[in-house]
């Protein structure tokens, strides 16, 4: 009975050496006592290691022996790779030990702790995530390993990736950044909280449409939906602070991420989108086609809902930014090829250089102006290229000849120009 009681208070067996140590309020540990405690970190009994480590947390760093840091880091890496399995103790007892271990290891700012931090530490504290993210490329293999082996820690891994692509972007290569963006988006469906966290912490304003989708998805659950809704305000504010050039670059990054290792129809769609986006951030016509192409690729299940939301909504957002800066058509203006003008709420692009005059208003002179940003649905005065896709009376058509549309040339009426999509 007495032995049972002793066990319950943790003074049994190998723990007895600790009982010889003074209480913190009574005295400082002597160097010999500190050495004894450090030696106990080698004990095969984890509770002994735990008690010794807890006592050592009170010792100032200057009083710790030189080998202490490497020893603690090695121990943490070991505990992380070979988790303690002890059904006789409450999980929080192990948790307390491991928090002490990680916090002690973190104090040394040593990259050799990355294996343990990736598997264990990033689940515990933001400071650990920052350290791991700050190590950049060196951390990635360990995070990949953790991703494979610790499903419960994936939201923390995503948050750490978020820090890497955002606050510590200089510590990783461009291709690594692209890969991380892609992995974040791929995991968003199953790790909604992780995606929201990464989007906020980076921050990733182009992720706003995905966050919006999470906020409105029926299966998001109260917390994911609420957190997504709360994340929208700061992400929107951040996006609104970006220039069209920055938005365009952001969209380009995400397109690369989505298209990484794409094959088949996805590769085809990606090629089209990449070409369209290459036209630059101020070309309303190509942006509009970008959005349309993304829409149709989603309808074909080429893109996932989140991929589509990110590409189409950001293209739309960029297009909106571009269009709102388009000047209204006016008389006596010398328009050059490619100039844009708005007229009666629609947008046009100049096809021939000319000086505007009465009667040459954009909708009246197809030879001078082509309509842009007309949406997915077929419209007159638009320059369609081979392969462009439109909707007309709920049927999809593909342009088989380049032409400028006009009344009477609606797709079902001109089989030479349009073919229904099967």
């Amino acid at each position: 009975m007495r032995q049972k009681m002793l066990y319950a208070v943790g003074l049994v067996g190998a723990l007895l050496p600790l009982s010889a140590l003074p209480h913190i309020a009574e005295a400082q540990f002597t160097p010999h006592q500190v050495d004894s405690l450090v030696a106990l970190l080698d004990s095969p009994v984890w509770q002994v290691r735990s008690d010794a480590l807890a006592a050592l947390t009170s010792v100032p760093h200057a009083q710790l022996p030189p080998g202490y840091g490497p020893k603690v880091i090695a121990l943490m890496n070991q505990e992380a790779l070979h988790p303690i399995e002890d059904s006789t103790v409450d999980g929080e007892a192990i948790g307390d030990y491991e928090i002490n271990l990680v916090s002690q290891a973190l104090a040394f700012h040593d990259p050799s702790a990355l294996p343990g931090f990736a598997r264990l530490g990033i689940q515990m504290a933001r400071d650990v995530k920052d350290f791991v993210a700050e190590q950049g490329s060196a951390s990635l293999p360990y995070l990949d390993d953790a991703w494979t082996n610790l499903p419960d820690g994936r939201s923390d891994i995503m948050t750490t990736w978020g820090l890497m692509v955002g606050q510590y972007a200089t510590q990783i290569t461009a291709s690594e950044r692209t890969r991380l963006l892609g992995r974040l988006l791929q995991a968003a469906e199953s790790e909604k909280i992780g995606f929201i966290s990464a989007a906020l912490i980076a921050p990733l304003p182009a992720a706003l449409p995905v966050v919006h989708a999470i906020a409105t998805m029926a299966d998001s659950g109260d917390v994911a939906a609420a957190l997504a809704a709360e994340a929208m305000a700061p992400l929107t504010a951040h996006r609104d602070s970006l220039s069209p050039t920055q938005l365009h670059a952001d969209l380009s990054d995400w397109l690369q991420a989505i298209c990484l290792n794409a094959a088949g129809a996805k590769a085809t769609a990606c090629d089209s989108l990449t070409t369209l986006l290459a036209a630059g951030p101020s070309n309303g016509g190509t942006l509009e086609k970008f959005e349309t192409t993304a829409d149709f690729a989603f309808q074909d299940s080429t893109f996932t809902p989140f991929e589509h939301a990110l590409l189409a909504a950001n293209a739309d957002s960029l297009l909106h930014t571009v269009l709102t800066s388009v000047p209204a058509w006016a008389l006596g203006v010398a328009y050059a090829v490619g100039d844009s003008a708005s007229y009666n709420g629609l947008y046009y692009q100049c096809r021939q250089a000319h000086t505007s005059q009465v009667g040459w208003e954009p909708p009246n002179v197809y030879a001078l102006w082509a309509r842009v940003a007309a949406g997915d649905t077929w419209a007159p005065q638009v320059l369609y290229a081979v392969g462009d896709t439109v909707l007309y009376e709920a049927v999809r058509y593909t342009a088989i000849q380049a032409h400028q549309s006009q009344p009477g040339w609606e797709p079902p009426n001109v089989p030479a120009l349009w073919a229904p999509v099967q």
Partner: protein, 510 residues
Amino acid sequence: MGDSHSRRRGILVVFTLAVLAGACGTELPPAPQVRADLRDGVTPAESLAILSQGDTTTASPSAAPTSTQATETCTIAWSAPDTVTGCSVPVPTVNPTVPWLQHSGKAVDPGEIEYRGPISIRFGVPVKGLTLTSTGALSCTGTFGTLIGYRHDSVVASADNVLTDPADCGSDSVTFGVTGQFPPDRVIDSLVIGGVNPWTFPVGNLTGRALLKYTLTYEPQSAGSTSVVIQSVQTANNGSFTTLATEDTITLTAVTMPASLADSVRWSVTDFTGDQVPSIPPDSASLGRGATIRWEVPKQDSVRWHAFKHPGSLDQKSLAYLIVASVTDATGATVHSKPDTVKQDEIDTMREEYVELRVTFLPVPARSDFSAEPHCDAPCLNTGDYGQAIVKPTFSGKLQSLRTHWENPGKQWQRNSLYRNPVHQIIHLTEEIGKQQSRTSRHMFGCAADLQTFPAGLSKSTATATDSLHAKDFWKGLKMVADSAHYFWVEPMKMSGIGHVHVQTATGCS
């Protein structure tokens, strides 16, 4: 005689133009601080007998004290604060100390202090033959004050004071003083002098105030015999203590009669048997002799904490000792003091848990770390065993801030527990849950909290996949917000489970 008194009275009666009024509360003498014990040949049964007897007790009838000195008359007077003359007993403790043995209806003379409340005198030894006299001035119409005598905090005598010389009142109805006394053989150990009425009164067209400057004479009850009285039991924490090396020293002081026996005082410190705690006493051989000794509370056996369940009572936990001082006079008679006790209060009882259970990874909490907080069943702040808890301001503030950030529609907030005393954390919860609990939990220092996730109460057999998913999202979401504070450390889900999020500090605790 009457004329001379009238002249003095004429000087002392001071006139004021103001109308004065006032009311004062009454005050009983302070309760004794300690109780007692035995070792040194005194059995527990004897010690209880000692407790029920007087302050000076012989060990056996055959060893009755004998008179060795002539009767002494002690005097304490308003004119000589903190002084006793005519005998060798301790200076009584007088409250208030300023003014010393004086009542005044209004401060008028230089240095005079208005005081209308009761004057309490604790003699330190039993006394008899008490007589009070006064000089000053007071109205002849009214009441002239009271004397109430106590023995072991019970009233054993009372008397109304009378005018020293009623014939002195004359036409102005003002006189110089009062007298009062108890029956000569009435033994008391403390006295309260009540004030007169009125405190101010008309004198012609003016207003006078009562001024009474007292002198007390009395005989030590034990004068002429041998006695020993425990005068003080001093501990590190103003009456309490722990077995921590910096807090385990207790200083005992006794007064003997005759004073020459001071160096021969023997002490007994034993477990106080009036509770359920087996307090390990100091080795009697180590206590030493003399009017003042110091001893250290021995390290205790921590197994004792298993003897009771949550929440238990202080009667089961607080260390307590019985203390007796003894002297032997020239005749060979041994005299024991009234026993005294020293006992841990609630906070030091809690702190003792940290010492005995070796919760050493942070300093043993200071007394000031604790504050009153009723214990209760979760969810609540203090799920421990006591009516005190540690609530650290920084951690508590960060937790409140987390709540503010979190608590919105769709996101419930429920703190299941924050503080747990070591015995509850390490012993009770281990027994209740059937798994060994953490000995390094920061719940024991008020720097950890368990936050409920929702939907709550999921069981593996009944929870739907959607419920589990939402509970996991709740866990991850709350953890995400906690992370953003750059302050909390969170136990991984594998350790805490999805039922709650455990947040804590990692280094320090403030």
